[in-house]
Symmetry: C2
Subunit: 406 residues, 2 copies
């Protein structure tokens, strides 16, 4: 049991099917050669749901369909997800396909189409094979739930599945929050997308759920960067089905901060897993910025640091190259006073008073040889704190991205 | 002779010492092992001057000294430049060293220190060896001018010198504008900086020169990106000494647009040369954005395209991967309507009506095998046009930047 500032939240083995009343499945429908490529999360009761979407001007068809479902009411019974083909930049036909995918899934579950969300990830600019999707949805019906099957079905070229689960207590009820994600940069040419799915058996009021998701996404999924790209299909969806039978959570509820903390932990775990599995990555890099003018500026600077190609290559090369960290901080628009900035790596201060500080290169190199690197920056401008996550930039990133589409 | 919308401007062989009344020198003073590392441009009469500087919060000491010189009057007799050490993040001692470098150069020329600008490029966080600098300045006095010596002395790990020169006629006077630059990304760990020096024998009013430099920098040097980093030492300096004896140019002068065009061509040539010589680069990439809401938005999108790691690796891999171009356009804040966007490569339309268009992969691959790649995007939002330049992202970028500091 991890103590979190007086709150008790337990990390447990599990994922999106762990909260009561949820099941998750995955099958191979033939969009990919042999791997699972179609998955569904089903809630036994309609779940209060909220989602955030890519800011790209080229939102994919499934994003539009999910937005439509959530505009017609905040409840969902299921989300159907395919990998291999993103159904993005596919015109009118693509939109029709995404609506048909929703209708087929709704029919399987015998519910209104508006209770189903749709999500896709994979190659941009290719149409879905709807016969395979339809056959796959039938197959899903007859396939028993298997732990990890959904998580596997949503991957493209990720190297590992991403799932996490936390338990907490609201009143006298045990509440579980589970999550699954995919994303590893646009690994395969034209492949893209960061997807996050969070389920909970907590009863949560819709507006509170929506606000919490937006706020938490900003400090978790929006604070990771693999290559600075935004996909056409990015989406994070949270479904709360109330099966835990807790008193419905609102923003005024005494235990709302505890639930939010649980939701944050789930999103943060998934976000870090995506960064760690970035294309060609060998290390997770965390930037912690303290004492910024406000949290927003701290987050901006933290993301600049983990997004810098020069910082990323230096970490890959186990080089305690603080000049590149200074470079990344220097060209942000946030309030920075050069003379007040301090840079720390593995407990050593590298830069202070606008001058280099003596430090052990050997110790720094040893620290950088680990697989989780934390860069700490103090700005002394105010009380703002922020974090961001990324990965190192390696030969494999080039190899993966410069190879021809297949 | 190139015809430029009724204007006649001739590109000639030459550089910063080509305009009348300028000489440029370069010597080896010992900051580097054997290559030239100290250079000076001297104008025989005080030259009306203007400069633009890095926006980094960590402006290097020489930047502060040059700003001081130009605050005390807009005239310069000389600029002294060293490579190898950036004199950035060097505290009070660094600032004193930069002022001493200015004083020593002024003494050599027998002028007020305020008539001298100072510029440095190289490793961040190391102090200048002032004995070597002082000896070098004396050596410069006794060394005859040699074509290309200055250009060589300002390089760090650039693979080629960057210089250009144009001639035009103002009234009945021949006016020459020459330029030199360095910059290739932060090639060597901790090495940085884009420097541009432009000289002209035109007589130009100070305010007009300053406005023109700012405006032109925005569409030339500010539209290149190698790795999205801003150095602590970036500077572009223009010196106009009036030795051509033309009627002094103001913004109201009939031939002001002609002079500005000449200045733009010089800056654009240098900017493109820097992008082409980007770390590990094998190709120059130009993005042309047409029909944006305005020029500013067109420039923002063009820079997003050439700045995208995924576009850069695709070009390296000769992959006509329009999905990545769409990705880069998609996550800009500019006005974009997906259904109206058209993407062209080598004369072929790849994307239109929010759908992929049929095109010859063979022809596209052949086009991408060249060493200058132009990506054209039409937005149909308005009359705004913009361009930006970058380079491909290759294994050598990683090799160069992941190797340990030496």
């Amino acid at each position: 049991m991890i103590q979190l500032s007086q709150e008790y939240i337990t990390k447990v083995t599990g994922g999106v099917s762990s909260p009561k009343g949820f099941e998750a499945k995955g099958v191979h429908c033939g969009l990919r050669y042999s791997k699972k490529d179609l998955g569904v999360i089903i809630s036994e009761t309609p779940a209060t749901s909220a989602a955030v979407y890519t800011q790209s001007h080229f939102q994919a068809a499934p994003i539009k369909v999910t937005q439509d479902s959530l505009k017609q009411g905040s409840e969902l019974k299921a989300v159907i997800v395919n990998s291999a083909i993103a159904n993005a930049c596919t015109g009118e036909q693509g939109l029709e396909d995404a609506y048909n995918m929703r209708a087929d899934c709704a029919e399987l579950l015998n519910v209104d189409p508006e209770l189903v969300a749709v999500s896709s990830t994979g190659v941009i600019g290719e149409h879905l094979d709807m016969e395979k999707i339809q056959a796959g949805i039938k197959l899903l019906k007859d396939t028993p739930a298997g732990f990890g099957d959904f998580e596997e079905a949503i991957l493209t070229t990720d190297t590992v599945m991403k799932q996490t689960c936390y338990e907490l207590t609201i009143g006298d009820k045990k509440v579980t929050i589970g999550g699954a994600a995919k994303g590893s940069g646009m690994i395969h040419p034209n492949m893209a997308t960061m997807l996050g799915f969070v389920t909970t058996d907590a009863a949560v009021e819709e507006k509170a759920l929506h606000n919490a998701l937006r706020e938490i996404t900003d400090v978790s999924f929006n604070q990771i960067t693999v290559d600075g790209e935004t996909s056409t299909n990015d989406m994070v969806l949270v479904m709360a089905n109330g099966c835990a039978e807790n008193e419905c959570l609102t923003e005024a509820h005494d235990e709302w901060p505890l639930f939010k903390k649980g939701l944050l932990l789930v999103c943060e775990d998934l976000a870090k897993d995506i960064a760690r599995d970035g294309e060609g990555a060998t290390k997770l890099i965390e930037a912690q910025v303290k004492g910024a003018k406000n949290d927003l500026e701290a987050n901006v600077i933290a993301k600049k640091i983990v997004g810098s190609s020069l910082v990323k290559t230096a970490v890959y090369g186990t080089d305690a190259n603080w000049g590149r960290i200074i470079g990344a901080i220097g060209h942000s628009t946030a309030s920075v006073t050069a003379e007040q900035v301090e840079v720390f790596l593995g407990g050593q201060c590298l830069f202070k008073n606008n001058e280099p500080q003596p430090f052990s290169e050997t110790k720094a190199k040893e620290y950088l040889s680990g697989d989780e690197i934390t860069i700490v920056v103090r700005l002394c401008e105010g009380e703002g704190n922020g974090r961001a996550w990324g990965c190192d930039l390696t030969y494999d990133y080039i190899k993966i991205n410069a190879s021809y589409r297949t």
